[in-house]
């Protein structure tokens, strides 16, 4: 059964936003890495990047709306020259600011100061680390990625991240292939124990996400003839209890060019909002807060098992 039909049956109507608590801003698809699971196919070869004018429009929306959380993603957000300005302005507006980092970028000479900048602005860091085993991480994220990630985590720990209550450091786990994530709670306990024992690394929370059947991961599924089975697994694992907390019902995603989407995954697909206000310049908080959400088969990725939000 298609996702749209499933939703109409389960909740007697289409999926609608409940509010916009979070503005998730994608600063561009440039990245120093080329991870195999990236749904946006980010990498060093990508040039899409949010410009200053669009960054100003984002700040204006934060200033003029009740949105209190800015969630910055990419690519590697650090590679956008306007990141520091955006963070500083959002903090001036008393927003909670989250940056999703790939960790390895923080070791590059031109970005070495970023951990200190994040600390000075009490930025919440969400870092990708799909395993606490080196071979597994390097296989997905490239040779040397694990060692660099651990170095960055230790640097962040030395600044107080993952230890002080104010300096939040969270880790994102995603499965290493065509299967679903284990229990988030148990995995968090295991990660905490292993990272501390092996590398003396601490963090606050772990989020376990499913891999979305989009971008490079979809290519892998098709190439390895796992696509149908994976989709079947996602459909079979549909959990109606995840609907209430779906991120698309609580946030709005802004693309590097200012286009608005229901989530980062719809952005990856190029699936625009079902609303005439589909650019940050035409942002309408009230109307967008109750919009009908554009769904597709990939949405089963967010409703499978324990959910992925």
């Amino acid at each position: 059964m298609g996702f749209e039909e499933k939703i109409r049956i389960v909740q007697s109507g289409p999926l609608r936003a409940q509010c916009i608590d979070i503005l998730q801003v994608n600063l561009g698809y440039r990245c120093n890495m080329c991870c195999k699971h990236c749904h946006l196919e980010a990498g060093p070869h990508r040039h899409e990047e949010m410009d200053h004018r669009t960054v100003e429009a984002v700040i204006r929306v934060l200033r003029e709306s009740p949105i209190e959380v800015l969630d910055i993603t990419g690519g590697a957000p650090e590679m956008n020259p306007h990141l520091k300005y955006l963070v500083a302005e959002a903090k001036r507006l008393a927003c909670r600011v989250i940056v999703r980092t790939n960790l390895t970028i923080l070791l590059q000479e031109e970005y070495e100061a970023m951990p200190g900048f994040y600390k000075d602005h009490t930025v919440e860091i969400i870092a990708s680390l799909p395993s606490y085993m080196e071979s597994a991480v390097d296989k997905i994220r490239g040779d040397g990625a694990f060692t660099k990630s651990i170095q960055s985590l230790r640097r962040l720990n030395s600044l107080g991240y993952g230890k002080d209550l104010e300096l939040k450091l969270h880790i994102v786990y995603n499965p290493l292939g065509a299967f679903l994530a284990p229990s988030q709670e148990k995995l968090e306990a295991e990660y905490k124990q292993e990272l501390l024992k092996r590398f003396n690394v601490s963090f606050q929370n772990l989020y376990a996400f499913a891999n979305m059947p989009l971008g490079r991961f979809r290519d892998f599924l098709v190439r390895s003839r796992n696509y149908e089975k994976y989709m079947e697994k996602l459909r079979d694992s549909f959990n109606p209890a995840t609907l209430e907390g779906l991120m698309c019902r609580h946030l709005l995603s802004v693309g590097w060019d200012g286009a608005l989407y229901d989530c980062d995954f719809n952005q990856g697909l190029g699936l625009p909002l079902n609303d005439r206000s589909h650019h940050i310049e035409a942002f309408d908080y009230i109307r967008l807060g109750t919009r009908e959400i554009m769904v597709g088969e990939h949405c089963y990725g967010c409703t499978a098992g324990q959910g992925s939000t």
């Binding site: 395993s131 085993m133 071979s135 597994a136 786990y173 499965p175 290493l176 292939g177 299967f179 679903l180 994530a181 284990p182 148990k186 995995l187 295991e190």
Partner: protein
């Protein structure tokens, strides 16, 4: 000659119940209960499963329990260690029977 083992056959497991549904139902019920978390966690049980699967050299079970290990957040490092434990016990079991041959020699030797 075709292959004896086909991975699609794993999905046909329920066909085993065709000629004796009652026994198969009992097996499934027991199997499911045995795999439920109890004093041992699900993670521990699937790790035992993958080790046993290698010991009995069942390709279906290796396929199935390897996937289960991955779904429990484990990696090839975990699986490889479990296979070594299974293999070491299997090897040790052969070696300890060497004592039987010692005994047999002792029985008939001066």
């Amino acid at each position: 000659m075709g292959d004896y083992y086909n991975d699609e056959d794993l999905d046909r497991f329920s066909e085993i119940g065709k000629y004796n549904p009652d026994l198969f139902k009992k097996f499934l019920s027991w199997y499911t209960a045995a795999l439920e978390p109890g004093a041992l966690s699900k993670r521990e049980k699937v790790l035992i499963g993958v080790a046993v699967a290698h010991t009995i050299q069942c390709p279906y079970c290796i396929d199935s329990y390897t996937k289960s290990c991955l779904e429990e957040g484990m990696t090839l490092e975990h699986i490889t260690e479990a296979v070594h434990v299974a293999s070491a016990i299997r090897g040790g079991a052969s070696l300890i029977h060497g004592i039987q041959s010692h005994n047999a020699v002792d029985k008939i030797s001066l």
